[in-house]
Amino acid sequence: MKTANEITASDKVPESWMPLLELAAREVFEIMLGCKLEVQTAAGPVPGDFTAMVGLAGQLCGLLTLRCSANSAALMASKMLGTDVKEADPQMWDAVGEIANMIAGNFKNKLTGMGDRCLLSVPTVITGSDYSFRSMADTGPLEVALVFEGAPISVAVEVHS
């Protein structure tokens, strides 16, 4: 597996990080929401109604994003709070941001030697699908396509080399 030092000489996020990113997401959903994520078998677009972003700074510098539909965001909030979806609705932004934050922290702690050398920003959540954003990261994104309660979600990380 590539370390943080090795990625500085590369123009791509190491593929070996993919299982760590997937595991980081799975653990957060299992522990905090009590549900298992499945791997998306058929490639398809992930609705981008909600995009949560957490910045990575330090030796590992870049961005982690979590994208999902509004329905999925409401369901995530509902599962985290243990309430029905309607009641959890106003907490969607907070819930999706916090999930992204935990995935980012869990992911960086799984990278050898990265825990101490990478800091996280507080999360930012964008709603609506008619937007584009450009990360200053210069590697291609490493994206894991997963299924949460029957709906596609995406977790991706891009880094500055």
Binding site: E27, I31, D94, N101, M102, A104, G105, L120, V122
Partner: protein
């Protein structure tokens, strides 16, 4: 164990609810729960009356959890109150730093109610 007054400091309201639920699931009887969205609010919440337990995030806007810990000793009502950090910042240096400035425990997110019980219950044994 008597009923506990707790202060939960986290910028996520969802996370504050989860922490509260985890404390209850740990079998801790809560008499009162105060919430604060950052360290400055947390210090303010202790101004008039103390608590028996503080659970605090690290990454927060306005005042982060480590600065909150540094300033906590200036609050008369907070003297001797155990503080447990609950955070995504799980690096060794953060743990060492938090423990060196007064935290009594450290829980990494994501966490289970069992972890909350393991770290928090022993700190409350002397609460009268």
């Amino acid at each position: 164990m008597k009923k506990i007054r707790a202060l939960i400091v986290d910028d996520s309201s969802v996370m504050r609810k989860i922490v509260e639920r985890s404390i209850r699931q740990a079998g801790i009887d809560l008499a009162e729960v105060r919430e604060a969205a950052n360290g400055a609010e947390g210090l303010g919440a202790l101004k008039d009356q103390g608590v028996d337990l503080i659970l605090c995030d690290i990454n927060m806007p306005v005042m982060d959890g480590l600065e909150f810990l540094r300033q906590l000793h200036t609050v008369e009502n907070a003297k001797g109150v155990p503080v447990v950090m609950i955070t995504t910042e799980g690096s060794e240096s953060h743990v060492v730093q938090a423990l060196s400035i007064g935290a009594r425990g450290y829980i990494r997110k994501p966490f289970t109610p069992e972890q909350v019980k393991e770290h928090v219950v022993p700190l409350l044994e002397n609460v009268k």
